[in-house]
């Protein structure tokens, strides 16, 4: 085994150790309990296998014009003898020595990882056995966690009663994991074949080229799930032996999401119409089926769908990066709160008494307040829009971010007007003809179900308006402006009006969402309107697929719905979400469901997603030139039909 490969194996082992020690430091072994050690070994094996697979695959991928693995980022000018030899040497080994080299590689990597893990857990165990507490420094290094890592009971750690065999076992386990990975990678080229199969499978799934039988099975999925969810709602029925609300919530999220895929898979025309009607019926029956908790989560999801659709107009259609979108959400929420909650600021109640209205009763109902909230938000949008008309790109981003913070700080500090951090309480619920449907439907519709229903209706409305706007003259003006402001102006786009309309319409939708949010929360506080709301809204449209309404729904389901399902592992919710966000951007930067317009622009949807060529063209001509010169992968792609 050449030295170079050996050092590569040790390095792989070190990286695996770094990742595993992160998991140990955040307390994962303690959370898993008994089977923690095998689970960690399996993770290591998976990592080794991926590494082996990639190194052996790389040259063949390049030859077929596949996307070059961006982790190893070798821009064009560096593809010299050095870069080429590194990948191919291992490949040669894989083929000529059929089997032994990858196994040795895995063994070495596994031994490295195992030894380091054994040393670290030995140090921890020894320290704890001698009564040195590690916890004040590393919060999660408690006996429970270390014990799970070594495979003994916490009591044994405290009495420093851990036999040396345990550590040898650890090393052997990881070495075994390495050998397993090597075997899988080397097994007579089986690993390579499997990898190719996986590649093909992913291409097929996203390219919507499923066979017709698979297509119909896939299309039936949301309806089957919906039926199952409804059945779960019947009294006495349990899911997998437990009547966990989260299981049902997860199924609801999957059903809604897969419904969107179904819609996309169905053939345009009669079939699509039928699917759309059925799906609509299914989705609109959800508020009646689900319980209070699931309804409240789904309500929030669809409020964020509205936010996402509005922000999408500003960012996705008009290309104006807005990081302070929460401001309009807050304006909508506070406007409704002022109009409908018993607390009114001294200013407002004084005004009301002057006008001869009792300040005790809500001033306006939900429906009367709706245009007011929308209008206020739109005015806010224009007021923000005017000063930032001349700004571009990142300058715009920071100014809008500042605007969002200013609004929040005002709500926090203008105690007389907004009741400060104590918030506005007892915001009245939306009614219909003087009754809330909760009373009328004999308990079929819970209060949160009513909010969910409203959110559904409103987001359907918003989605319709947004789509029509995008296809209108104004939408084309936005698109032209996003491509190049100067060219757009030269071809007759009125920049000031177009930009302000984008801000105003986006803000209007956020105002609607904010009002519904206030009704959902009943009590609102300035803390509900932090920068993270803007970030969430932006992240969901990018994760879902910028410019695509279906993608936005998916993004909201994934970003606002899934974390609620993960409440059981509350501690790890945010790190998981954050890591997924990064991975998602690397693996699929165009979002789950990219918009049709973006797909039309590029010859091959998959490859466009990988390189983001059209977006570069839209945003920065200078950068695109750089990008083209740099992107060796892109160059190959253009030659490849």
């Amino acid at each position: 085994m050449p030295l170079e490969t050996a050092t590569g194996a040790v390095r792989t082992g070190l990286i695996a150790f770094a990742f595993l020690s992160y998991l140990i430091l955040i307390g994962i072994p303690g959370r898993i309990g008994g089977p923690a050690l095998p689970v960690l070994a399996l993770i290591a094996a998976l990592f080794f296998w991926l590494k082996l697979r990639r190194e052996s695959n790389e040259p063949s991928r390049e030859a077929t014009g596949q996307r070059q693995d961006s982790f190893d980022d070798k821009p064009g000018w560096e593809i010299g003898p050095r870069a080429a030899s590194k990948g191919s040497r291992l490949r040669d080994l894989l083929h000529t020595h059929s089997g032994t080299a990858p196994i040795l590689y895995g063994l070495l990597a596994g031994l490295t990882t195992g030894l380091l893990i054994a040393i670290v857990s030995g140090i921890f165990a020894a320290a704890m056995g001698n009564g040195i507490a590690i916890q004040p420094v590393l919060d999660k290094i408690v006996p429970l966690n270390v014990a799970a890592l070594i495979g003994v009971s916490p009591g044994q750690i405290a009495q420093s009663d851990v036999s040396f065999i345990r550590f040898i076992f650890q090393v052997l386990l990881f070495a075994g994991a390495g050998v397993l990975a090597g075997l899988t990678a080397a097994g007579g080229g089986y690993g390579l074949k499997q990898a190719a199969f996986l590649d093909r499978l992913t291409t097929h799934l996203s390219g919507a080229t499923l066979t017709s039988a698979g297509r119909f099975a896939g299309m039936a999925l949301p309806f089957v799930l919906l039926a199952y969810i409804a059945w779960l709602g019947l009294p006495g029925v349990t899911a997998f032996g437990t009547n966990e609300g989260t299981v049902r919530l997860l199924l609801t999220l999957i059903a809604t999401g897969s419904g969107l895929f179904t819609l996309r898979l169905s053939r345009p025309g009669r079939e699509q119409m039928a699917v759309a009607v059925l799906l609509g019926l299914g989705v609109f029956s959800m508020p009646f089926i689900l319980d209070q908790f699931q309804n409240s989560v789904m309500g929030l999801v669809f409020i964020f769908v509205m936010m996402g659709l509005g922000l999408n107009i500003v960012v996705g259609y008009a290309g104006l990066l807005d990081l302070g979108y929460v401001a309009f959400f807050a304006i909508g929420a506070y406007t409704y709160a002022f109009l409908s909650a018993p607390f009114s600021s001294p200013y407002i109640s004084g005004l009301l008494i002057l006008l001869g209205i009792s300040p005790e009763s809500p001033l306006l109902g939900y429906w009367m307040a709706l245009p007011v909230a929308m209008l206020t938000a739109a005015v806010g949008g224009i007021l923000l829009g005017i000063p930032v008309l001349r700004l571009r790109g990142d300058y715009l981003a920071i100014v809008t971010l500042g605007f969002g913070e200013i609004i929040r700080l005002f709500m926090l500090n203008l105690g007389e007007l907004t009741n400060g951090p104590r918030g506005i309480l007892e915001i009245s619920q939306p009614a219909l003809f003087g009754h809330t449907p909760v009373d009328v439907t004999f308990g079929l519709l819970s209060s949160q179900g009513w909010i969910f229903l409203l959110a559904l209706v409103s987001s359907a409305l918003v989605a319709f308006v947004a789509t029509r706007l995008n296809e209108s003259r104004l939408g084309r003006a936005w698109f032209a402006m996003q491509e190049d402001e100067d060219v757009a102006e030269a071809t007759g786009v009125h920049l000031v009006r177009t930009k302000l309309l984008a801000f105003a319409i986006g803000a209007t939708f956020a105002g609607m969402a904010g009002q519904l949010y206030a009704a959902r929360q009943i009590n609102i506080f300035p803390e509900n309107f932090s920068l993270f709301v803007s970030i969430d809204a932006l992240a969901l449209i990018i994760v879902g697929g910028i410019g695509s309404p279906a993608g936005i729904v998916l993004g909201a389901l994934a970003l606002k719905g899934l974390p609620e399902v993960l409440r059981g592992v509350d501690e790890y919710r945010i790190v998981t979400f954050a890591a997924l966000l990064v991975i998602m951007m690397i693996v699929r930067p165009d979002g789950i469901l990219p918009s049709a317009r973006r797909r039309i622009q590029s010859p091959d949807p998959e490859e466009a997603g990988a390189a983001g060529e059209p977006e570069l063209r839209e945003e920065d001509p200078g950068l695109r030139e750089n990008g083209e010169a740099l992107a060796k992968g892109a160059g190959v792609r253009e030659e490849d039909p």
Binding site: S70, F71, L321, A397, L474, A539, I542, D620
Partner: protein, 357 residues
Amino acid sequence: MTSSPVKAQAAGTDGRAALKQFTRALGVAIVLLVIWRVTTVGLAEGYPVSFWISQALNGLVLGGVYALVALGYTLVYGILFMINFAHGEVMMIGGITGFFALQFAQARGWMEGPWPVVVVALLLIMFVGMAASVVIGVTLERLAYRPLRQAPRLVPLISAIGASLFLQYSVLLIFGVSPHSYRKPALISGGLRLGDVFIPYTGAIIFVTSILLMLALFFIIQRTKLGRAMRAVAEDRSTASLMGVDVNAVIVVTFMLGSALAGAAGVMLGFHNTVVKFNSGFIPGLKAFTAAVLGGIGNIPGAMFGALILGLIEAIGPSALGIPTEYKDVIAFTLLVLILIFRPTGLFGEVLSEKKA
């Protein structure tokens, strides 16, 4: 919208001219309003001069810290055109690591020793914090940004936001929720009294250190071969690569420099504020980014002066305008909005930045 293209274009330029005049008038009005407010408040309150001086000194200390962090933003932006949203967290990790280094030093009794020992120990602590930040910064670049170099601009931004959250909550999980409080050694816990003006030692040290670090950075960028390579890559990445500059190496070095400065800022902020916890990098990071934009992002002297101006305004603004200190963030952001309205590429932004922005 139904008018002919030519007409619409004319309307567009008319709109622009009108807008320009409108913003100019607005600018004059705002400046007059601020002057009026400051004079009336100044006359009514009658603070002594020493009060203003100590506020200004506070502002300079804060500005120095912001400047170190802002330089990281601006360096990365100048080369990659991306907002490294996680830079504040890189700073926070420097602060946390510095805390543990300080604990270690205190446990060994180095902090009670003769003054050369204490000084060396403090320098070591700062160095440890910087090293930790460099490790995190480079890892971040490798894992979260490098794969996205060719992607549209929003994509690395989202990745950076994800990385920022990931770092914050990883620190929360690994080191626990409770804030870690720095205990200042006796040598630097006092202060200097000049008449009515009190200057805490930490403040003076922070200011001097940040100026020294900025000078070092300036030297590296202007006088070394490495700096020349960095400037070349910032100017034109592909041409630089044709001239034999290793672009990847330059980008890594940029992240190292920026992270090192942020780590130093983190440790110093720890000594100054006495506490550091998982989210204590977020707000300073945001402020530093504001400062970088204020000075014209991508522009190194711009970031330094933008940060000093921001620090000064934040310290003096609330008392000068006679409003509660809770509004200091409002003042900072309002100032940013106003400056960008009149100078859309920041105070020191040049044609260059307009091309890239």
